[in-house]
Amino acid sequence: MTDAALIAGATQPSGPGHASGSTPKTLAAAKRLKARHAAEFRFRLYGRTAIIVALSFLVILLGRIVSQGWSTFVQNRISVAVYVDPAKVDARALNGVNWDYMISTAALAKLGLTDDDVGERSGKMSALLSPALGYDLLKKIKADPSLIGKTVTVDGPIGADAGLYYKGLIKRSTAEGDRRLDDAQLGWLDQLKAKGQVTSKFNTDFLTHADSTQPEQAGVAGAAIGSALTLIVVGLLAIPIGVLTAVYLEEFAPKNRWTDLLEVNINNLAAVPSIIYGLLGLALFINMMGVPRSTPLVGGLVLALMALPTVIIATRSALKAVPPSIREAALGVGASRTQTVFHHVLPMARPGIMTGAILALSHAMGETAPGLMVGMVFFSSDLPRGFLSAATVLPVQVFIWENASERAFLSMTAACIMVLLAFMILMNGTAIYLRSRYERRW
């Protein structure tokens, strides 16, 4: 019997001698009621706190990633006019010319400085500039040797550390010995900026380059293409096999021990840790079948096995949602069972299947551990060319950069996460759109 019932009993006039109201019994009941309401309030507060905690974790997580990563999308570029001195350039051995030195002395000249005897000053300037400038100059001269003896303007990113200074991530207030750039270098950077030599713009290099040992030239394109190729393999394998398995289990399979075993098996597979799939890929695909390591093919094979249970489970629930009347109608007009399923049930379940498939792909895209096992930790400064060329994928790229020592890679890791999340949000958004646009309620 609850307190409310007690109160109800207490307040009912049970005899002529009892005035309803302030007897000790009702007082105690009112007190209890108050305590119960306080407990109710507390309980509700716990629930609300839990929600707020969960949501604030999300906000902190995403906010932290964006605050660490945004600066990668800004690139500081410098353009330097270099006089290509014919006396210093051997036209027969262009690769042997010290282009970086030529560019850094030109940049020093802009500031009204000349190199000292031991080359320390030009070395310091060279550390502020990206080697990309030197390659650029070399490429220009190679394309048109008549430029020797003329002034050539090269344009390219500044060095990673100099970029960190412009973005406020290396501060003057830090003791000189504790930062990568000394006071003189910071002074030059300020002067270059003041002279308008340095411009900042959106970093397209980050989105179009493959990985590089130089942070300012490294990009996510290699990993993004690797991810795309891997996902193609996953999609081509997991979606047809998963959908057909689900069709079999839901529409054709007899209820017996074999299908019970299948069901238990599929549910268990969905909960197997992803690293176990990586071990399977390593032992089965690489070691036994000789699929080349580090390739989108082997990565895709492993992730396809991992995505399979998800696709099966999603397809089954989509098929279950199609009402039996559809099947009965088709069978009633003389369609065979196969025709019923493939001409009527499957098309009607298509939105649900597509949603599930996209979610499974997006999940596979974010998976890292199997990639580590099958050698997707791969450094390549070229974009992957196909399913059989070694490549990395976006989450593994995050792992690689996270372990890189250069400071500039920290913000690039966060930026790579932003790219990865952007792709995943795009995919999930598509799935949600499909679900809301085409889902039919029966």
Binding site: T245, L262, A271
Partner: protein
């Protein structure tokens, strides 16, 4: 390239066969009386399948296993003794031969002099073997395609049961697809067992499962000074469970309370905002959580504890202060707490479903007796949902144990037997990753140990999953 072209040719042949089959069926039925057994399309499909399918299977088998066969062919004749390739390096050598021959790497610079000439000869041999194999496969595929067509086409007639044949094949394909899932499980078990058995030949299972010393440094070559590796997995499991317990301490209360709030208190609009937000939290890849743990939470916790330690030094808790002053980024608490955040949406969405599955009549009955909402939840709904909630927590535990990236990035590598959450510990998954990234020659206990760990991990998570899924299934039947 050749294989791709043959596949395209096969597709074209099948399309042609389809058209021919359909036309023949139409012609056969045009003049005759009575209705044909199958629609013309089925006749076409029957011929097309016979034309394309066997040949395509052959080609896929070649792509899957051809590399292996070629490898056996080129490694059949050993390099001349002058090349000085030792027996241990043979596998690497032929691996290089094959990858250079396939154009996956441009050249192998490690070989010089006599070895280089032998290597080049081997590459040339591998290339010619490869070309021959491809041509043979392509020719065989074409022969199969034509043979299939010649076999199937004459059978077509008005009464030919083409639909039944095609549908029979369709259901065969369905069954084959559903076998893939079973094969995956078998593959996992077999490959883990096989490699683990090799590991247990070098290290006894008892000392693996009950040893308290983990130090897998072992000599990679015979000429190195031998350091015996120690493979006692107890510290790894202790670390794994420590982190799992911390994670559950975060995820269970937050996840459960948010599920209760969402299911019982929240209005339509709150649900519409919170549920997708939790789904986003659930969709964030684990490597992102690892990054967050290693570079945000780790330093934050460390500086917090260090500051606390500085306050305590000199006071009554001087020793604790000194200890707190030197804790590192990579403590179990950091990995556990972030893993807990990761598991919140998992726990909450599973429990939400379970709470929603409790019949409304139970709630109504409780309210009718005058119980408040929280009393209804605590005394009626939660007891009714308890098995399901326990199952959800078990599934979350299984995920915490198998989670890799957070611990790889945020937990340490030192195998310690400790229950102190401020200490660095290592986990099973971290060790698998460390043992297997880098070289993966499958002949020393160091790499094979990863499979031993994998097998144990698989067994533990499998038991947890089976128990949890059993409970969920029983529970569903109870209310259905």
């Amino acid at each position: 390239m050749l294989i791709l072209m043959v596949l395209l040719a096969l597709a074209a042949l099948s399309a042609g066969a389809y058209a021919m089959g359909r036309r023949k069926a139409r012609q056969a039925t045009a003049g005759a009386a009575g209705r044909p057994h199958s629609l013309p399309g089925y006749h076409g499909a029957y011929v097309a399948l016979w034309t394309g399918l066997p040949a395509a299977i052959l080609l896929f088998a070649f792509v899957a296993f051809g590399g292996r066969i070629e490898y056996a062919l080129i490694s059949a004749d050993p390099p001349p003794a002058s090349a000085g390739i030792t027996a241990e390096r043979m596998a690497t050598y032929y691996g290089d031969v094959q990858s250079v021959a396939n154009g996956q790497s441009t050249s192998a610079v490690v070989y010089e002099g006599a070895a280089k000439t032998a290597f080049d000869a081997a590459v040339a041999h591998a290339r010619s073997t490869d070309t021959l194999a491809r041509l043979l496969a392509a020719a065989a595929a074409l022969v199969l395609a034509i043979g299939g067509f010649l076999l199937a086409f004459p059978k077509l007639s008005k009464d030919f049961r083409a639909r039944n044949r095609v549908e029979g094949l369709t259901s065969a394909v369905l069954i084959v697809c559903s076998v893939v899932a079973v094969m995956t499980t078998l593959g996992i078990v077999m490959s883990l067992l096989y490699e683990s058995l090799r590991f247990f030949q070098a290290v006894s299972p008892l000392s693996f499962l009950f040893g308290t010393d983990w130090d897998p440094q072992i000599a990679m070559r015979t000429d190195q000074v031998m350091t015996h590796g120690a493979f006692g997995a107890i510290p790894l499991f202790a670390g794994t469970f420590l982190i799992m317990i911390i994670a559950m301490a975060v995820a269970a209360p937050v996840g459960l309370y948010s599920a209760i709030y969402l299911a019982e208190y929240a209005g339509r609009t709150t649900r519409a905002v919170v549920k997708p937000a939790l789904e986003i939290l659930a969709g964030v890849p684990t490597v992102v959580y690892g990054f967050f743990a290693a570079l945000t939470v780790g330093p934050l916790f460390r500086s917090g504890f260090n500051a606390l330690g500085a306050q305590l030094v000199g006071g009554p808790l001087n020793d604790l202060g000194l200890y707190l002053g030197q804790v590192q980024n990579q403590m179990a608490l950091v990995a556990g707490a972030v893993m807990g955040i990761m598991l919140i949406p998992f726990v909450s969405s599973l429990s939400d479903d379970i709470i929603n599955a409790v019949p409304q009549a139970l709630r109504d009955g409780s309210y009718a007796m005058g119980a408040t909402k929280s009393e209804t939840i605590k005394r009626v709904i939660l007891p009714a949902a308890l098995p399901g909630v326990v199952a959800a927590l078990l599934l979350a535990m299984s995920r915490a144990i198998g989670e890799t990236m957070i611990v790889t990035l945020a937990a340490g590598l030192q195998a310690k037997l400790t229950a102190n959450p401020l200490d660095t510990v290592t986990t099973v998954t971290v060790q698998i990753v460390t043992l297997l990234t880098g070289d993966t020659e499958f002949d020393n206990p160091k790499t094979l140990a990863a499979f031993g760990l994998g097998l144990t991990l698989f067994a533990i998570t499998l038991v947890l999953n089976i128990i949890a899924l059993r409970i969920v299934q029983k529970y569903r039947e109870q209310y259905d």
